[in-house]
Amino acid sequence: MTPPRSSLTVTDLKVRAGEGEDARLLASLPHLDVAAGTCVAIVGESGSGKSTTLHAMLGLTDGLAVSGRIMVGDTDVVTAPEKALTTLRGSRVALVSQSPQSSLNPTMRLGTLMRRVLARHGIRGAVARQRADDALRDVMLDPELLRRYPHQISGGQAQRFAIALAVALRADVVLADEPTSALDVTVQAAVLQLLDRLRAEHGIALVLVSHDLAVVSRIADHIVVMRHGHVVESGPAADVLGAPAADYTRELLAAVPTLGE
């Protein structure tokens, strides 16, 4: 077995709004290492800086000041020119976003979106069709869905399709921003299982952002708890969930509903 390669490494990341003395710290992450085939979860309430951190990993922090290093392979997202970033986005780092249906262009058939996204990264023709078919099968969607518009499919199907985009592009890193919060409970479980399976099968480095410890506890190997832009606690999932060091983590754990109590 080959040693797990590191797909995403974050060092001394700080995201600020504004300049000079008025600058407000939105998110700070001293260190994070996401190896291929593992899942790291970033947990916190809204405003904790978890989504900002995620967007920084894509270089999509318009108007914010970002410092530190975010290495994807040997590319530093923080300093890379925009042109390198547009190539990196999608092909190496893919996003699965919060509201699956509204994240898909309402005037575009799913097949058109898939084709354009693949073509953007130089995959065209028969190869593109094969990639799309394989990806859809991988997320257990009927290829017939490619002929539909976003409003003609369910939320769960939309989220599976969003994941299929990442699979079709063979992204090393998948960033999932609250991927289940807009879905029904039963569909939530299925989407989580799907992400977990793809992580294992394709060796994807999965970063899962959620406000819900119950969600992340199912699939995360490592958990980072954030509050007010700072890391409160960080460690292997078993430790954080079993013996939380920070009071805030205990509060979050206490908020998780359990059966039979």
Binding site: D62, T87, R89, S97, S103, H121
Partner: protein, 355 residues
């Protein structure tokens, strides 16, 4: 389908309402149509004859019935000031107006949308390149100034009264500089040397179809100024609206996903946001179209353009009730048909819209 039938029924109702209204209004126009028609020196016997000829003696419901069935048969009455059939008059005047309005609408789309796109792109920080220093290629102030001038230009185009613009442009470019002819549709001298054969009554199109190059040349030169004046408002409104609609689309969740999959800001605007934004734009275009038809009334006066507007104002000054009614019905018809077309096109553009 239900939506379509409903819209058709609504349109029919609007037309019926307009027809009824024009009928009532023409009966309220001060002055005796028979006197206008027969002239001031007509004898009482002649007046009675004219009244009978114009159907003024009959009861009101009877007149309404005759008016409506006449409209349907294509008999729109006789114009009191040209003494020709109203429908004949309109069929030559309307195309001349549509020539102006058509140019304005084409310019609105061809110039207005790219202007809006440019404004939105600069506003979103387009043209920024990290490699070229802190201020980037355009510079922060450059971008703000670019977007600002797009907005200021469109604001100006929208707020200048069209008759003022027409007079100013005519005075500067035709009278002072002599770059373009002052007025008219084409040089009337050409009627002797190379008479124009009328097929569609759109002068430019007819000249093109029949290969009448002298008339085409003259017609195009005459068209430039009035068409530009007519286009000012549509271009301005469309630029503003498309800028706003594109900015709204680029803040939508789908735009973030598209950027996350490697598309640049400009690609997201042009390849992904333009289509969802074109729904509201299209509805706006229909409104602007109707508004331009009314604007044409003023522009045609200034440029002596033989269109519907000049026909209408001549009809109004001579209390020509049948002509006024005819113009009103035509404008209403154009408006209704345009709106129907917009609804249909919207269904094609946006898959969420069902007919």
């Amino acid at each position: 389908m239900r939506f379509l039938t409903q819209r058709l029924a609504q349109s029919a109702l609007v037309i019926a309402g307009v027809v009824a209204l024009t009928f009532v209004i023409t009966r309220l126009v001060p002055g005796d149509p028979a006197v206008t028609y027969a002239g001031p020196r007509a004898t009482p016997a002649q007046l009675t004859a004219v009244r009978r000829q114009l159907g003024l003696g009959a009861s009101l419901p009877d007149q309404l019935w005759r008016y409506v069935t006449g409209l349907l048969r294509g008999d729109w009455g006789t114009s009191l000031h040209t003494r020709r059939g109203v429908l004949t008059d309109i069929s030559t005047a309307l195309p001349a107006s549509l020539e102006l309005v058509g140019c304005a609408m084409v310019l609105a789309v061809v110039v207005g949308v790219p202007l809006g796109l440019l404004g939105a792109h600069l506003r979103l920080g387009g043209g920024r390149s990290r490699g070229l220093g802190r201020w980037g290629r355009w510079g922060r102030w450059g971008r703000a100034a670019g977007d600002g001038s797009v907005r200021a230009t469109s604001m100006l185009a929208v707020s200048v009264p069209v008759f003022l613009l027409a007079l100013a442009v005519q005075n500067l470019f035709a009278a002072q500089l002599g770059w373009f002819p002052v007025a008219g549709e084409y040089t009337s001298k050409l009627n002797q040397t190379s008479p124009l054969e009328h097929l569609t009554h759109l002068t430019v199109v007819d000249a093109l179809l029949t290969g009448n190059w002298p008339v085409l040349d003259s017609a195009l030169a005459h068209l430039v100024l009035p068409a530009l004046v007519m286009a000012a408002y549509p271009v301005g409104v469309v630029a503003q609206m498309s800028r706003a609609a594109l900015l709204e689309e680029s803040a939508a969740p789908h735009a973030r996903l598209e950027r996350a999959y490697g598309f640049s800001r400009l690609q997201v605007l042009t390849r992904f946001s333009l289509r969802p934004a074109s729904g509201p734009l299209l509805a706006l275009l229909a409104l602007v179209f109707a508004f331009s038809l009314v604007n044409a009334f003023l522009v045609e006066e200034v440029f002596d353009w033989p269109g519907l507007g000049r026909y209408a104002s001549a009809a109004i000054t001579s209390s020509d009730a049948p002509a006024i009614a005819g113009v009103t019905v035509v404008v209403a018809l154009t408006y209704v048909v345009t709106n129907l077309l917009v609804d249909l096109t919207q269904a094609v553009i946006d898959p969420r819209v069902r007919l």
